[in-house]
Symmetry: none
Subunit: 456 residues, 2 copies
């Protein structure tokens, strides 16, 4: 049977595949919030059952956190691993959602049909593209394309605390010829892409304490140090006037872009105006001497992801708070050393503290940047398969977000990661009203069928 | 009959006076919580009955919120008004109380007897000092010291929404020669004091918007402006390195402390180390060229009472938020013009915005500072009476917090407010285990007898 028959089967089965995805999306598997622990477990069970129903030897594997789902199928040919994650981001602010984030809907929009709901794009919709491609393959051909290992995680949105220990303990079982990772997007929502440059991530939460308890700002204002004032000074000093990050030694190990890649990226003719306009902005806010694509793909960043302190409810309360907090993350590139940067950041903050103030740090992940070795011929085969499906030449690109798993495959298992995904720029990942285009889902499934055909 | 006889009567009646106060303290008149509406009403009834039993023409007067208690007594002499409030603060966190907050107890402590319970100091215990002084006066002398109007409020702890309308509607009835307000404390728990300088208050909430929606910091970090970064720069710039506030024109109308008052304050030998140590601090954080007492009483301040933006829950969410918010308040002194400062602050913030950012302001009150005109000879008479009772020279002091009622008496009724109270620094106002020293209660009653004697 030919690839065409598999593709036809995919087209025909799309309504049923969509129903299966909606079913999975109804499970509120928010991994960061302990209140949703049972739901994460339920999502893992759902996947195990779905894989088992297809005849795959799948099981739920316990970890100290949320479980892994591991499955094995096929014999012969190259041994591929497929990675995705079944956990999703929190949904607040809930009032900005037009619908219940866990009551997913198919919506007609001016740009076509979309699947709306938390996790539709990140990452349940994406991971199901691969599952559905295999389902169609098996239905049409009666057998699997090659030997494949499923490795599905439930802690990706909360820093993957169990991932590395699990990979180390099960290295023999998880070691394969290549690792397909489906958690990225198309370039500019239309060019198929394989991500070959991934930024690392360093997260830090800090709490500044000034007075030992909340005070009345009328009684103590002026004479007592306000921790919000201290925290604001620290945050304000993280970037200089040209957008450069001021943490000492931060740029150690940051490489310049190779000429070859620079040329390829210029060929992409990235429309940064449209990229920014889409989110209500017009001017790139990063380092002033860098191109917009460098800012989002190959330069390191520092962002405050959250800040809070004092009274934040309705009305006014003239409190002078005891504590102020911030969550800060750094995206890392090249050979930047997350642990050295953490130490330098902590020293810089501590050095800035005025008398009577204390700081407490709490770490949230520290992963180096990683890049794929595209000299493996499987990369060119996959690139051609993607170009065929989308009728646009696929590109090797960078990725602003961190996908630490890619580095773990390289470092722990010696397996080269290949990142292919079908998300679009307007999918509202991590935001209210997240969606996944029906086109992403449909052509995503077809893409995997073509990639599997090309690699085997 | 002499003042001594009145004082003796007060000493003798103290146990009965204490029982009356305990009775009033048993009524949970929490004004902010609608569940306690009937209790607020009950407290008003209790006061009306107690005043009527003394032969005072007292009544409960309805408002859209909790009722006022108004009473009239006496003829001739100066016409005094007495203000206090019968409502109390909420009691949560309840688990931090050693006893039921509404089952008041007399406790022996290393520092002497205390009356423990919600409202004991703020303000039921304080208001009863005046009632008991009058009761003793009448019992001994058979007549009143002068013409007196009682004006007792039940909404002070919830922003006094009915106060100004009631004062305006009943201006003729409430207009007197002076208004005695009993809701303040002794200086450093031992020096009798009349508060003569009250700071004004200007509140502003601001919201900075950068991108039009929350973004993924991996996708947009670096290239998209982060509103927390913008807000932090603004907050950090509100004070310069010497602690001065940088809003242009902010210090217009700020008077230097008169030499006389400066000398008086130096005489107070304020122990700012102890004041700060009490809340875990050691160094005054205000303007470096000002004394600690100036910082809390006579200098204007700027405090951030709240800040928030992005993800503030447990764990980490790599969001680049659309909005960041802060609540900022200014304490004003002298002739500082709240509306001019509001305008200047808004302009300063707006001028600091980078491209693509917007700011929205929302005002929260704007009141000028007020000061009592101590040239009225009644002030010196009262000061001498207090000095006699406490055997320590009474002082004219400032007050960091705002007591809006004082300004209302001046502005609406043209009546000079005289703020005298007997609370101590460790009374735990608004906190669990509130108490009022038996010394405050006893000598407070005696103080009023002396003040009434001096003023009439």
């Amino acid at each position: 049977m030919s690839l065409d028959a598999v593709l036809a089967r995919i087209d025909q089965d799309l309504p049923a595949a969509t129903d299966r995805l909606l079913d999975l999306l109804r499970i509120p598997s928010i991994s960061t919030d302990p209140a949703f622990k049972a739901d994460c477990d339920r999502a893992a069970d759902w996947l195990v059952k779905d894989l088992q129903d297809m005849g795959i030897d799948a099981s739920k594997r316990p970890t100290p956190g949320h479980p892994m789902v591991v499955g094995h199928l096929g014999n012969g040919g190259p041994h591929l691993l497929f990675y995705g994650h079944y956990d999703v981001q929190p949904v607040d602010p809930l009032n900005l959602w037009d619908n219940d984030p866990f009551d997913p809907q198919i919506e007609d929009t001016p740009k076509g049909k979309v699947i709306r709901g938390r996790g539709s794009s990140d990452d349940k919709g994406q991971l199901m593209t691969f599952v559905e491609a295999l389902r169609a393959w098996k239905a049409v051909k009666g057998d699997w394309p090659c030997k494949i290992t499923f490795f599905l995680e439930g802690e990706e949105e909360s820093g993957s605390p169990s991932l590395v220990p699990f990979m180390k303990e099960n290295a023999d079982e998880l070691k394969t010829d290549i690792a397909l990772i489906c958690d990225t997007g198309l370039f500019e929502s239309r060019t198929p892409a394989i991500v070959t440059m991934l930024r690392g991530l360093l997260g830090e939460e800090l709490t500044i304490t000034a007075p030992s308890k909340d005070l009345h700002s009328g009684m103590y204002g002026g004479i007592a140090m306000n921790p919000i004032r201290v925290l604001s000074r620290i945050v304000a000093s993280l970037h200089d006037e040209t957008g450069r990050i001021t943490v000492p030694g931060f740029y150690d190990g940051v490489p310049e872009l190779p000429d070859e890649l620079e040329a390829q990226w210029q060929g992409l003719a990235f429309n940064h105006q449209a990229f920014l306009e889409d989110v209500g902005l017009s001017e790139p806010a990063g380092e002033q001497d860098r191109t917009p694509l460098e800012m989002i793909w190959s330069r390191p960043t520092c962002e405050v992801n959250g800040i809070w302190g004092g009274y934040t409810g309705d009305g006014f309360k003239t409190v002078l708070p005891s504590k102020a907090h911030a969550k800060i993350s750094f995206r890392l590139v090249g050979d930047q050393d997350p642990l050295a940067i953490r130490e330098s950041f902590r020293k810089m903050v501590t050095d800035m503290l005025p008398p009577d103030c204390e700081v407490e740090f709490s770490p949230h992940g520290a992963s180096k940047a990683s890049g794929a070795d595209t000299s493996d011929p499987m990369f060119e085969k996959a690139r051609k398969a993607l170009s065929d499906e989308w009728q646009i030449p696929a590109a090797y690109i960078g990725c602003g977000g961190s996908i630490p798993i890619a580095g773990h495959f390289q470092k722990i298992l010696g397996t080269e990661p290949m990142l292919i995904g079908f998300g679009k720029d307007d999918d509202q990942l991590h935001s209210p009203n997240e969606k996944y285009d029906m086109e992403s889902f449909h052509k995503g499934i077809r893409s995997w069928a073509r990639v599997l055909d090309a690699l085997t």
